[in-house]
Amino acid sequence: MAKYTVKRLLQSLVTVLVIATIVFLLMRMLPTDYYFTEDQVMKLTEEQKNDQLMAAGMLDPIGEQLLRFYGQIIRLDFGTSRRIQNGQPVVAVIGSKFTVSMRMGLISMAFSLVLGVALGILQTRNKDHLLDHVGAGYTILVNAVPSLVSYSLVLVVGSKVFGLPSLYSTRNVGESSVLPIICISLSSVAYYALWTRRYMVDELNKDYIKLARIKGMATKDIMVKHVLKNAFVPLIQYIPTSLLLTISGSLLAERFFSVPGMGPLLTDAITRYDLNVVQTLVILYASLGIIGVFLGDVAMMVLDPRIKLVDKGGTR
């Protein structure tokens, strides 16, 4: 297992490096005009612009820039932010923002796991009856209606009927977080409900469940000890990734409610030519995604001993 872990992590390192390189090259496609603020583009002469770009090393050959970038990654030096927060180290910029996103993300995840799985169980218990159809209707609506529309509806209902604040404010964190959290949870509740139901129904049709019924096992025990546990195996694969990526926040929800979180950071950094921030974020998200998938595999293995990550050889 240790050998497998090391091998897999080394492979992932290569993947992250490839991704970082591609993003680095993609970002160099941006016209250099974006390097300056709108004011500067108007006022500075071409020579002044060239001087500034030269001083920042932006006009060096691509190969040289790339080598310098690799050097920085190896030294774990992520540089400073240029225009998101002037001159601050990128790590500090992220550090100041991620707590907001992560707190909301974690609350929303706990909420949607409980609600989604419960809804899925209820749907399975009432298969082809009213509650099942209600759940299916919810899933269809959430999947089909554009999130911008559903967020707007949540906003109108939340602020008109329940009097909740329509914008996030640091002075009233508790109340003003309610609507963003509901918006983030809408789709994940549907996701968990849909798949819990699907896997549980699949499981219910298996022969060992019939045997358990015949030998007189209580329905409740069958549901909890067999069906739910087995249905949860494919679901748990997904959980570590989403847990880790709560750090990235939600782009639309955070923009919609003006939450000062991580969501809009990536697009802001691109439009403001803050390359260090873009590269750090991409490396961070890619690594977290890869670690998440690995942890998911481990979690699946723990829950279901039949699943083996390491090929023992000869067992097939």
Partner: protein, 306 residues
């Protein structure tokens, strides 16, 4: 005394008509698809609603009292509630909302259909090659992983900044990213079916590759491709609205759902009709398409045919 064979049996003349009557089965793939589809009353009704909406969006623009091209800002008329003159009221600049909403609905449908068609053509072609040609599998899988692992918002932002914002750029960039999922689904299916015995037999008999793909494998792909298309249309509309809302989508002069809601974001708490009309129309389009696509994909699966 039993009769001899010559007495019992009689040799008939060959008749092409009679031969056809025995060997002919009137099974036709598309006929069964439509028969199965028409059995689902709810899906048929949904289809009617969808086409009704699309046709009405043209009618609505014609019968509206204002033409989108000649809209004037008139601050004294701002936030007029819906009335007989302005059927959907007016926006914050006093412009007629009726023609904006229907025009936006048309833009969204047009974009979604173009992207879906492009995704389908590109995705199915690449998916077939990816699944069928063994030596390309590794390379294409790596390409897929790399493209898929970079956050999509980076591509969209870069395209918006480097190439510029327009309807065409938006459609092309969405196709360039959307084919990935389609190609992957198709590839997995092609891998499943390519080495079945009947394909092996076809290959031994010297059937050209394109014919194996088109005749033997393609029918199995249809229902998955349709399902993917049905999902892609609501997704495209949602993505367009999100990107336009963030200022990375269509340019500000093309009204689309995202732009309308972006303009209305600060006002619709006080003037809910600014949200209600676009929200209801676009949701109807996406929900009907989602349901119709699901029903049609069930009907297109040959395993559900008798």
């Amino acid at each position: 005394m039993s009769k001899s064979q010559d007495e019992l049996f009689r040799v008939v003349e060959y008749s092409a008509e009679a031969a056809e009557r025995i060997g002919y089965s009137d099974y036709s793939y598309w006929k069964s698809v439509f028969q199965n589809f028409l059995k689902k009353k709810s899906a048929v009704i949904m289809t009617c609603i969808f086409f009704g909406l699309v046709i009405f969006s043209f009618v609505a623009l014609m019968i509206g009292k204002y033409d989108y091209q000649h809209l004037m800002s008139e601050s004294s008329l701002a936030f007029t509630a819906p009335n007989s003159e302005y059927w959907f009221g007016t926006d914050n600049l006093g412009r007629d909302y009726w023609c904006q909403v229907w025009y936006a609905a048309q833009v969204s449908i047009k974009l979604a259909l173009i992207v879906a068609a492009g995704e389908c053509i590109l995705g199915v072609t690449i998916g077939c090659i990816w699944g069928y040609v063994r030596s390309l599998d590794r390379i294409l899988t790596e390409v897929y992983n790399v493209i898929n692992n970079i956050p999509m918002i980076i591509y969209m932002t870069l395209i918006a900044l480097v190439v510029g914002q327009s309807f065409r750029n938006m459609a092309v960039s969405m196709i360039c990213i959307g084919w990935l999922t389609m190609a992957r689904n198709v590839r997995n299916l092609v891998l499943m079916y390519r080495d079945r015995e009947y394909n092996l037999a076809s290959r031994c008999l010297g059937t050209p590759v394109w014919r194996v793909l088109v005749k033997n494998i393609f029918p199995y792909l249809i229902s998955v491709v349709i399902l993917r298309l049905a999902l892609s249309i609501p997704q495209t509309i949602a993505l367009e609205s999100t990107l336009s809302y963030l200022g990375l989508g269509l340019d500000i002069n093309t009204p689309s759902l995202g732009i309308l809601l972006r303009n209305a974001r600060n006002y619709f708490l006080n003037y809910p009709y600014l949200l209600l009309f676009p929200a209801v129309i676009v949701s109807m389009i996406t929900v009907t398409f989602y349901l119709v696509g699901n029903a049609f994909s069930d009907a297109a699966d040959p395993r559900n045919h008798v």
